[in-house]
């Protein structure tokens, strides 16, 4: 128990690519003919499966996390440890000696220290490249300590190198979560639905949960509802998977084992999106609902060229909004493309950039194809900033909340009115990239893999 649940890497399970720059129908054609993996011969760093696994696990209330590896593997802890009330994210701090002789004792000591100090309800052990290469018997230590201290400890196998797709980390976390926690033993006396919301923060998940509640539907939020949410998940009448890619493994497992079918509803972004979302939900349950007919537009975007960088669901919805508002999409960059999301871009008639953290390619594109506005989800795009393009982070706007949507629209209005900050940045900063690179085509360093 506790270890040995290996999620198939995304490249195999969902035909995922993270290096691509072409029309989406090329990807779709290859799916039927045989997908060719791509690789980059020059790359910039990006988040690994470990990062995404910890991101997911840190959203489970009452869960402790121990990263089994050298200290640097826990360096992103400040990103996820936000509140003084959160459990810490610990790292076993393997030394050179541990990597040679094995780090089992170090793991043992760290787990005991964690359990003794914090008494978590559940503890996750996340593995790292050195541990995976050295084949530490992490499972045995987990089983031993779990028995001795009567604490549920679950191993999450992440390696940093088995998959080049960061969100494989979600699968690596979800599979053991499902295997060890999921059940159909509901402690609720009313029927309910599951809401799988992994990429969103608690505020957004709760607001969507509230939409269900207003319709009189009880909602079980995963993973934010904690251990009990998993325990009852198999008893749900249906699963709503907010994004078709992040929680897909969990949704499929719930269907396969407990017969809980899932649906991917429209993202409730803006009044129009929310209206469509509610229509979808009420249709399923036969609840009377009169559509408002609202349409989500941002009038100020009329005539503007907008570049979008973000996860597939959000990028595709924003693209539609921009077009509906009379603007045009200058380009889209998403971190990956696979079977679960390709359909979202069927209406996009330009080449799609696929690559997480490959700022050099985006700056190449924007240097030649200027945009009036750059929308991004999480990490600030050095490219847009250095080129002085008005930029708005929608990721922090809580787009799925009503207040968040209004705030986002207002942010766009403000930046288009006054982009002084970007203009005051040093325009020479783009010169970190060579002229030679800026003249090449965007996908110069993306090659089909030769095995």
């Amino acid at each position: 128990m506790g270890f040995g649940d290996y999620a198939t890497k995304r490249e195999s399970s969902y035909d995922t690519l993270n290096a691509f720059y072409d029309f989406v129908n090329i990807y779709s054609q290859e799916l039927s003919e045989g997908l060719r993996q791509r690789t980059r011969t020059f790359s910039q760093d990006m988040p690994s499966d470990i990062f995404y696994a910890v991101k997911l696990l840190s959203n489970i209330p009452g869960a402790g996390i121990v990263i089994h590896g050298p200290r640097g593997c826990g360096a992103f802890a400040p990103t996820f440890w936000k509140s003084p009330d959160d459990f810490p994210i610990s790292v076993t701090n393997l030394s050179e000696q541990n990597t040679i002789l094995g780090g089992e004792q170090q793991l043992r000591d760290t787990l005991i220290k964690y359990i003794t100090k914090y008494e978590p309800k559940i503890l996750f052990v996340v593995t790292t490249p050195p541990v995976s290469i050295n084949s530490d018997d992490t499972g045995a230590v987990i089983a031993e300590i779990s028995d001795e201290y009567n604490v549920k400890i679950i191993g999450v196998l992440t390696t940093g190198f088995q998959s080049r797709i960061g969100i494989s980390g979600y699968d690596s976390a979800l599979l053991p979560l499902f295997n060890h926690l999921a059940g159909d033993d509901s402690d609720w006396d009313k029927p309910f639905v599951n809401l799988i919301s992994i990429s969103e923060d608690k505020k957004e998940s709760d607001e969507i949960g509230h939409l269900f509640s207003e319709l009189g539907i009880s909602v079980n939020i995963l993973p934010g509802g904690g251990i009990n949410a998993f325990k009852r998940a198999g008893a749900a009448v249906k699963t709503f998977l907010l994004n078709p890619y992040d929680g897909i493994l969990l949704a499929e497992k719930l269907k396969e084992v407990y017969g809980v079918h899932f649906i991917v509803p429209p993202l409730p972004i803006g009044p129009g999106g929310t209206d469509l979302f509610l229509k979808t939900v009420t249709d399923i349950f036969g609840i009377d609902y009169v559509q408002s007919g609202d349409v989500t537009v941002i009038p100020i975007l009329s005539g503007k060229r907008v570049y979008i960088q973000g996860s597939p669901s959000y990028a595709s919805v924003l693209a539609e909004i921009i077009t509906r508002s009379g603007g045009s999409v200058a380009g889209i960059s998403i971190p990956f493309i696979d079977r679960t999301v390709a359909y979202l871009f069927e209406g996009f008639h330009d080449k799609l950039h696929v690559g997480e953290g490959q700022d050099f390619e985006i700056i190449n594109y924007l240097n030649e194809n200027r945009a009036d506005l750059f929308l991004f989800e999480s990490n600030a795009p050095e490219s847009a900033i250095r080129l002085g393009i008005p930029t708005v982070c929608y990721g922090k706007s809580h787009l799925l909340t009503q207040g968040g949507w209004e705030s986002f629209k207002h942010s766009i209005e403000k930046i288009l009115k006054n982009n002084a900050f970007a203009r005051c940045l040093n325009p020479d900063d783009i010169k970190v990239y060579t002229d030679g690179w800026l003249k090449r085509r965007v996908n110069w360093y993306i090659k089909q893999e030769v095995i």
């Binding site: 020059f42 790359s43 910039q44 760093d45 990006m46 988040p47 690994s48 990062f51 121990v66 050298p70 200290r71 640097g72 593997c73 360096a75 992103f76 802890a77 400040p78 990103t79 440890w81 003084p84 810490p88 994210i89 610990s90 790292v91 076993t92 393997l94 030394s95 050179e96 990597t99 170090q106 793991l107 000591d109 760290t110 220290k113 964690y114 100090k117 790292t128 490249p129 050195p130 290469i133 390696t159 940093g160 190198f161 088995q162 080049r164 953290g357 050099f360 990490n379 600030a380 050095e382 940045l425 040093n426 020479d428 900063d429 010169k431 970190v432 990239y433 060579t434 690179w437 360093y445």
Partner: protein
Amino acid sequence: MGIHNARNGCVLQGAVDTLRAISGFVPIVHSTIGCSYYAASGQEAGGFYSVLTGNGAVSANAVPSSNIIERQVIFGGGSRLREQIKNTVKVIKGEAYVVLSGCATEIIGDDIDYMAKESQQQGYPTFFLSTAGFRGNAYVGYETAVLGILKNLSLFGASEQQIEENTINLLGIPPVLDPYWAGSQRRMTKLLERIGLRVNRLFGAGSNIESWKQFPDATCNFVFSSWGLPAAIYAKEHFGTPYLEFDGLPLGSQTAVFLGRIGSELGISYPWIKSIIHRGEETLSCALGAIGSSYYTNRYQRDFVIVAPYFTAYSVLSYLESTLGLSNIGVVVTDIQDEEEKKQTYKHLSQITEFILFSEDTSEIADFIQNRNPELILGSHYESAIAKKLRIPLFEVSYPITQRILLTKGLSGYEGAVSLTEDLFSQIKNFKETESE
């Protein structure tokens, strides 16, 4: 032993942060995905300055990396690295390319040095640094990077040594790990220039390959923490450059002692130094006078614990006690790992404080703080949990910092002392007002 909420990062991350703070230096990471991306996570928490270094340094989110995958872990990543280096020089405009190893690539035994030398032979100033994360913390990464650059100066066409009178190098202020590094360095530079010294810009604005080529031409190296000592010793042995060691950057009235010592060692006119000191003391005194009444009304005098690397802890503690009249009831030194160095540090620190802990583990630190029962904590964001539990204010002075952005604020000199006083007492005042609501 495991660490709860690790604050120091690893060797690789320290090296990446150090190199990125020098214009023209391009780190190339040879490792699995994510190793230097973690360094980017720290940017939000440590010192914004280095993210958008105004002179075209490689940004936090865009470090070139070989991102090796399973196939390369099994069969070796040498050819992937060769390809990455070859293409990095075509994409990123650099004057020096530094190949850094991660844990995985050292475990599998890739011959990274060979690949770096291959690039050298093709005419690109490239060298390799062994920075596997399991070798130590990010301070070791800073040390490794600085020493590595000095050992490879010949690659950049450094000319024959020509001692430049009154030129100084500043060592031991690690970029990002010391969140105040940019402001502290700027203030220290200004102060030294006032007494007629020229400071070689090694990091941040104004830094470039030329300043590193001129490193051996300095009259003297000033070392503000033990992390700069190996480089200073190397410079002494290879360039004949003497060095002066200090216990952190001087803050407030410590500046007088600092300047006096420099004046004496470097033969700078004492009346001139005295006038600088006089102006500085006057500035500080006026500032403190302005809040004299508020000091007593708002009861700023607190028992405090400080949690920081030694070079920050020593100077801040000294200033708070000797000038602001606060009482130190505990120190946690978060950077020193070596047992021998701990003993030396303990001996030195115990002359000014009684309760000392060496730890980087957040839970151990929290227990220590709880036992000391202070009225104020100066530490990192990780101390927010114990501060909340004890219902006392936390002022962030050490990595990671999330309370504010640090652009020009520095913990050095008279101005640094005034700035620290403003921020610290504002924090106490705001906390007090919040408590009473």
